[in-house]
Symmetry: C2
Subunit: 373 residues, 2 copies
């Protein structure tokens, strides 16, 4: 079957599972490994879309649950799709809404058919199913659509996780069946199985059989220790086909990016860089900078002397501190720009290091400079 | 005496007092009449400075009171001055701090020497004098500095207003004496006199005698009806010298700009366009648009079909409504950009209409389309 989204493996590192690849989408090619900025409500918070492009982002993630509730997927469809609605002409990946719906806790009820939930905005009642998730994502017109899955919490007992992964597989088959726009959009499957090796294997075998254009590793970064996440990644990436892209959902701290790439992951997304930016924290080549600290009151140097982003070229820490303390919107704008630039460029450096056969050396250099996470 | 800031009168309208002129400053020439966006805390809220330039702003206003309190004028001076601190290389006008200090109400006490007040941020005690205002503005390095005046409230009795305008004159003499950087910065005087014609005349005669490079009309737009403001403008502009620029402080609604220009005013500033933008209101060629209105839910046309600003070129009302309702920062960014563009371009159209001898015709066209204010 011909997919709208395809993957080409360009090179695999000799001393790790790190890989250089390229994902082709109807809205342009994506060099991998890649970090995808998050634009939850059809906007990467505090950024104009061309600024997101300028800093080198190749693809962004947007959220099905949020757009379904507000403004409503029919409105986005009438606007000409999400790309046109939000003025972003590069690739878009949408999640399935599953993770947000499950995060609602008491506000939702899981059945075999789907999930009943109440809106966090106005308390209205909704019912999400694999078919509904596909309908919404087809209306949004994202390049990569995610399957509607159940993400088991951590910790969760074996019976729960097994039950949940098997339902996820059944839902994936329904998603594949319901997906109406295979010419323009591609559906990625999601592996579940919690922290259980045999269940990860079971999940992988079931979803890989469906020959989807890409696979995500779900159910990680849900509260477990990082070491446990790395341990699970160590084996479960091997269960996925080499010729398809692998996406680790919701992971974006610099250390996790390196550890994920080392274990063969191609795609990452996370709200971390944009969220901590709004809280006044910058990621720099020398570690985190908490801009409100008194130490920066008269510090007229840039956030990161090794950064050539718009923020670092034009503004001092003293100015950024002033903006943050004054609750100025420009503070969020400038720190978001810097943090996204930092992660996107770190990922570019990672790609170069894989091409040049020095990924592990680059990882060590980066960690030595960045310090404690 | 040679001033850093000079004015050239290019043309006066034959059927009104509207004038085309040019203000020369150490940071570039300003075509007048001009609208000056406000950047209270060393940032035009929700805008990168080059975006403010791109939409055609020639000069911005920043606030002495706010910068004195936070981050502190010594820090701005150490940073290399306000232009460098905030990354704005065009002209800057700073107010004197007087208006903000007087607005503190119970938190301040007026004496002949100056005004004692408590910070609105932390309640700390401060004393502002004409000398202090000059010291702060010299540290900021603005191109145009405003005199430290007392702006009488409306309504105010004659004795209060007379006393206040005479103190303003004495304070102006102290400002002129205290101003330490005449080579690079120019001090403008401020006319007071409330709504009393003879007191306006008295104030004008006293300040014009000091041969300053520009004069402001203070004490208007302080709560009086617009008709009364126009009536006062009708006579008091004539008391100011033709060869100096005239600045009407704190005025920026489209109707007031036209009425002010018609009465011979050259410079205006106001927080209105940026403030209402953050509250979801746009100024357009067809009147105000309150973006949250349900009417725009599926309106995929731009805010203003006659506008070529970044916002109108790229986004629909439906998208802007979605952003506003979702409390997204991009909403403030896009609406601020549009509103500033609208006022700056309306002023450009006003300048062209004066040059072409059709100012009154343009005013009528604008009002007919804009509707009720």
């Amino acid at each position: 079957m011909k997919h709208a989204v395809t993957y080409k493996l360009l090179k695999t590192d000799e001393r790790s599972k790190a890989r250089r690849g390229r994902v082709h989408t109807p809205h342009g090619d994506i060099e991998t490994p890649v970090f995808m900025p998050v634009g939850t409500a059809a906007t990467v918070k505090a950024m104009r879309p061309e600024q997101v492009k300028e800093l080198g982002a190749q693809i962004i993630l947007s959220n099905t649950y949020h757009l379904y509730l507000r403004p409503g997927h029919e409105i986005v469809k009438e606007a000409g799709g999400l790309h046109k609605f939000m003025n972003w002409d590069r690739a878009i990946l949408t999640d399935s809404g599953g993770f947000q719906v499950f995060s609602l806790g008491d506000l939702r009820k899981i059945k075999e058919e789907g999930v009943e939930f109440r809106s966090h905005i106005d308390g209205s009642k909704h019912f999400f199913t694999p078919e509904k998730s596909m309908e919404v994502q087809n209306a949004l017109g994202s390049d990569i659509m995610m399957a509607f899955d159940e993400c088991a919490p951590y910790p969760a007992d074996r019976a729960y996780v097994k039950n949940s992964l098997e339902r996820t597989t059944r839902w994936l088959a329904r998603c594949k069946e319901a997906h109406k726009n295979v010419e323009q959009q591609s559906l990625f499957g999601i592996m579940q199985g919690g922290m259980y090796k045999d269940l990860r294997y079971e999940s992988a075998m079931q979803i890989v059989e469906m020959d989807l254009p890409g696979y995500s590793i779900g159910g990680l970064s849900v509260g477990e220790p990082k070491e446990l996440m790395y341990e699970v990644l160590d084996y479960c990436v091997d269960y996925l086909p080499k010729e398809k892209p692998r996406y680790l959902m919701g992971v974006g701290s610099p250390d996790c990016l390196f550890e994920g790439v080392e274990r063969g992951v191609d795609m990452f997304d996370c709200v971390l860089p944009t969220r901590i930016a709004r809280n006044g924290t910058a990621m720099t080549s020398m570690g985190r900078v908490v801009i409100k600290n008194a130490a920066y009151e008269r510090d007229f140097s840039p956030l990161d002397p090794n950064c050539d982003c718009y923020t670092c070229r034009n503004y001092s820490k003293a100015y950024l501190r002033h903006l943050f303390k004054s609750n100025e919107i420009l503070s969020a704008m400038l720190l978001t720009n810097h943090n996204l630039h930092f992660l996107v460029h770190t990922m570019e450096n990672i790609r170069n290091s894989i091409e040049e056969g020095r990924f592990l050396e680059y990882k060590k250099e980066f960690f030595d400079a960045y310090g404690k996470f």
